[in-house]
């Protein structure tokens, strides 16, 4: 499990616990729950993409990746916009 992983701070539960999802080849492979105050400041507020380093089976470091976060958010928003429409615009059948 040692190595550096792309990961996402999926959510902060009850303002206290951060849920981090580690990825490999575009799939989530592991979940880490850590106290939210151990996260880098920017992701404590708004989540985002981070690089998580695991050494000897323990969490070594978490680095915020602002550019990757921005790119991923733009991509997800574009995809959602392309695939969806408001329910109020639904054609009556």
């Amino acid at each position: 499990m040692d190595g550096t992983y792309t990961a996402v701070v999926d959510r902060i539960v009850d303002g206290e616990n951060a849920v981090i999802l580690l990825e490999e080849d575009g799939e989530v492979i592991e979940q880490l729950d850590i106290p939210a105050d151990q996260l880098p400041a920017p992701v404590q507020e708004d989540g985002g993409v981070v690089a998580v380093t695991v050494q000897e089976g323990a969490l070594e470091s978490i680095e915020y990746l602002p550019e990757t976060t921005q790119k991923r958010r733009q991509s997800a928003q574009r995809k959602l916009d392309r695939l969806s429409k408001p329910l109020s615009d639904r054609d009556e059948e």
């Binding site: 999802l21 989530v28 106290p35 989540g47 089976g57």
Partner: protein
Amino acid sequence: MRIWVVVAIAVILLLTGCVDGTDSATDAIDEDDADALEDADDDAGNDENGESDADGVPDGELTIHHIDVGQADSTLIVTPEGETILIDTGDWPQDGAAVIAYLEERGIDRIDHLVATHGHADHIGGHAAVIEHFETEGDGIGAAYDSGVPADSATYENYLDAIDEHDVELFLVEEGDELPLEDNLKATVLNPPADYDGSDLHYSSVAIRFEFGDFRYLTTGDAEQDAEQRMVDDWAEKLEADVYHAGHHGSSTSSTPAFMDAVTPEIAIVSSAYESQYGHPDEEVLERYDESGIETYWTGVHGDITVTTEGSSVDVETGESFSSDPADLLEEKPGDDTEAISPAPITGGIVVPVPG
């Protein structure tokens, strides 16, 4: 011959009861609650296809399955005509397996309406797999519904990719929308707020109120105090419900006093793990339910929780027998020492246990 058939069925029921520890309770819907919403009766009277009688009470039963998916949500609603609505699909480690198995056991091969309350991985964890399964091996997904606020995770991206690959119609919902249901069930969206353009996944969590005859059911995903207050401000007269699916797994961020004063449920259902790593349901929420005399069911101790109604009374069946008194649930709940989150060593295994 007929007597033998009856006896045989009785024996089977008894055996099933013993094996599953199935528990059951029936409650009549409070008439005051039922009368409070006159407009619903008008709508329930839309019986072009003869599905309701002169009183607006529909024929047949509505069943709401709160599937035990551990520290996550997944709720299946089946109308009398067999129309299916699946709200959320559990956490990512299960990858939809528990939900697909539950539906298959009940002979369900199509999801007419697939709802994502919001994009967190403990709510859309099985979406990609569920879409893939029913589109390739079943009769498909009728339409999907989303809050319109994207999430960052690969789990969310895989859900959108499954929508794309299988050409599933995806609708963004907001307050005031009604799900386009065929059967005699009305589903009104109360959240997210109209024209919401923020990025807060909990604030924009999809909340839906279902009306079936005189029965009302409210589910709010992970809506927290701010979203609950907004709904109290804008939808107070639509919040009253007989059965309330507790917001955010019974966390104290939700089921806030002002909101509960508007909902006034007889029954609350909490979907969270027995040893929830976040301490859900929170003690103060169970105390609040206890003070209001709300019959409470928790997937952590009751397992799968099924609510059945023919539109005037409510029957609750649970996979495991346990008291529905919130005070008993509070006593049963594991103590604080099991809830502490610490940066545990990574073993390569999954930190969140997958319910068997």
